[in-house]
Amino acid sequence: MRALASTGLIALAFGLGATYATNSFGWFSTANLIAGGVALAGATVFGLRNLRGAGAPAFRSTLARGFGRVALALLAAVALERAAAWLHIQLDWTLERKFELSEAVLGALHEQCPAVIIDASLYYDKTDPRVRSSRMLLSRMARTGCLHFDLRHLDEHPNEIDRYGISSSNSIVLRTHEKGRPERWQLVERPTEGTLYEALYRLRRQHSGLLWVARGDGEGDVQKTSGAGYSGLAAAFATEGFKVHEFVGPYVEQIPDNVGVVVWIDPKRQLRSETLAVLQDYLLRGGRLVAFLEPGRETGLEALLARWGIESPDKVVIDPASGPVQEDAPGVDPLVYNYASHHPAARGLDSGRMTFFRGARAFHLHKPQIEDDLEGVAFTSPRAWLEPDLRVLYRRATPHRPASAATNFWPLLATGRYQRGKHEVRIAAFGDSDLASNRYLRTLYNLDLVLNTVHWVADQEPAITLRPKSVISHRMQFPLPIQNTLTRFESLGLLLPEAILILGALVWARTRNA
């Protein structure tokens, strides 16, 4: 019986091994699996025959108790596992907590649920290790009950590969089906919580309004994809549901009332008085403006903002609390960790969620009318001062504070809310434009500060949230120095087994001598 059982187990194991190795049921694996199964069945029959002598009641009860205990243990094991699974207790111990869904993602999922259920298909290749992590992320999202997901092997769905334009493994297609409406879908090629969130946001049929971006006077270009461009900002606006339209300032005679927000990014030339008048007229009709300024410029936009109580002296902020960044002098690139926590635009931002400004000017706020509401939103550290010599921006030397320069929590983002007749005017001004450029938009929490400010200006506070990060950490893509590894392998990696083996030899020798 034992020989038969052993042979059966070996044949079964080899059959399975061959199946794993060749990834198919060849003649070898099939023959082994059948032979193994037959041998094990034979061994079981022989084993049962041995039990014939155990027919006495005493023996029967002993065995019954034994089998009863096994059955009870099996039941307990299944119950334990099911109970634990039902409780859904999962601890995410990854460094970046990549499986803990953010409020933003949960909100995006629940927003349309249960009216709209999202189908997610993860297209994979067996050799791609990233699939496991994407699958886990999707299963977390599926637990909300608002998303169903399945896995599809790339080779088995060539039509879908063509239809959705899938170019690589580990791609996810999100689809929504609504009665009477055509299917909507989004392809996510590098699934992270952030990219999935953006795709979920784009799947919504929400329109946040019309957003006009100024150009024609050297403003930041929302079509430029290089680091200095602002195409990322335009894409983020589109993701948030804004319809982005570029307008040439000097050629516009009036900004229509249906424009939700006007965005003016760092004009480099003096704006014509007619352009400024058009903007002023739009604001007085309840317009909304988001302006990105830079130190060293006087374009007329600064003067217009000053008329609304947001003054920005042409000085550069030096914040000694911020260290040197790239080749800039220490302190000229403020790392902001002080926020007006009650302001909706700064919701969720705190000292652990910083934003990065690169060469910024600060604001002085004074109310044009007593009922106006002006606030600083993001501030420097209290050690910061305003430096009138703008050449510090181009020097590498550490700037020194003149005795006359006052230190303060200088606002780098200011907002104003004004009631003018029947209309409410909202204005936000950033003391820097680089924070919204492609190079820095996704640095730290810049994207959240910018988008949340725009949402506040557009009076869409429910859309204010902290978005999950869509960029993967490249920290894990550095080489571990091979020499270090070798040294460690020789020291710890070999020393430890050597020590254990020597200990074993000593024990063995002692046992033999005894």
Binding site: R2, W93, M476, V507
Partner: protein
């Protein structure tokens, strides 16, 4: 409790009094180190292959997402180690009950003050402790090297817990097999075969229905073990391994009754 303590002490003395424990410890540490080092070498080569496009300097923007320490080094190492343990653990567990039976010393144990349940508990506890110690020693090297790689201590801890639970599960299977035979070889082969079969049932997917495939997937070890490698500690997975250990303990306990009846 006193006889149980005495049994545990005796088991520990036998275990650490034989060179087998040290040889198996050494083997596991060496195998882990070699697997890890080989993956690390390949990873560094791939990394430089991609980064060399930039003609000097090191630019991470040219490296594909999937080439990173977690996916290219740590997960494959853990995967390989998981399979390696299926082969190694039965070598440790094969003698625990089988040796006593072949020498006839199990009769002495049964006639002592200890109940079969306690004998089983004592042997299981000692073996589980040993395999956890084994995992700890084998884990030191990859852990030290990859802490630098930004994988995070908590993630490492999750992997260690997964590895230990997997080893405990395999040791439990090995002990249950050892309890039913007096031949160490049969015990090892049986444990190896059961462990190998239970590792992954994805091979059966093409020939069974979807619901059966899901049920098989639920009892397979690999999916449970894999989520720990990912940095997720799921209580359902912990409960799975605890349940497996409990089941094997009761099966080992059954062997005493079986022997009384069948011989």
């Amino acid at each position: 409790m006193k006889p149980l303590r005495a049994l545990i002490r005796k088991e520990l003395t036998v275990l650490f009094g034989s060179p087998m424990a040290y040889v198996s410890l050494t083997l596991v540490v060496l195998v882990t180190g070699l697997i890890f080092f080989e993956h690390l070498r390949i990873y560094n080569q791939i990394l430089f292959l991609y980064a060399s496009n930039t003609m000097g300097g090191f630019d991470t923007s040219t490296i594909p997402d999937q080439v990173n320490i977690r996916d290219t080094v740590f997960f494959p190492v853990m995967e390989n180690l998981g399979i390696t343990l299926i082969g190694l653990i039965p070598l440790i567990t094969m003698r625990i009950f089988a040796e006593e039976r072949s020498r006839g010393t199990d009769e002495l144990l049964v006639t002592s003050q200890l109940s079969p349940g306690r004998i089983v508990a004592g042997k299981f506890l000692v073996t589980w402790s040993f395999v956890v110690l084994m995992m700890a020693t084998s884990f030191v090297y990859p852990a030290m090297a990859t802490v630098e790689g930004g994988i995070g201590l908590q993630n490492l801890l999750a992997i260690f817990i997964g590895l230990s639970l997997h080893a405990i599960g395999l040791a439990s299977i090995g002990l249950a097999c050892s309890a039913f035979t007096s031949s160490q070889l049969v015990a090892a082969v049986a444990a190896w075969a059961v462990g190998f079969v239970m590792w992954d049932f994805s091979w059966a997917n093409p020939i069974v229905s979807e619901s059966v495939a899901r049920a098989l997937d639920a009892i397979a070890m690999h999916p449970r073990y894999a989520s720990f490698s990912e940095g997720i500690v799921d209580m359902a997975d912990v409960a799975y391994f605890a349940g497996l250990a409990l089941l094997c303990t009761s099966v080992a306990r059954l062997s005493f009754d079986w022997r009384r009846v069948v011989g």
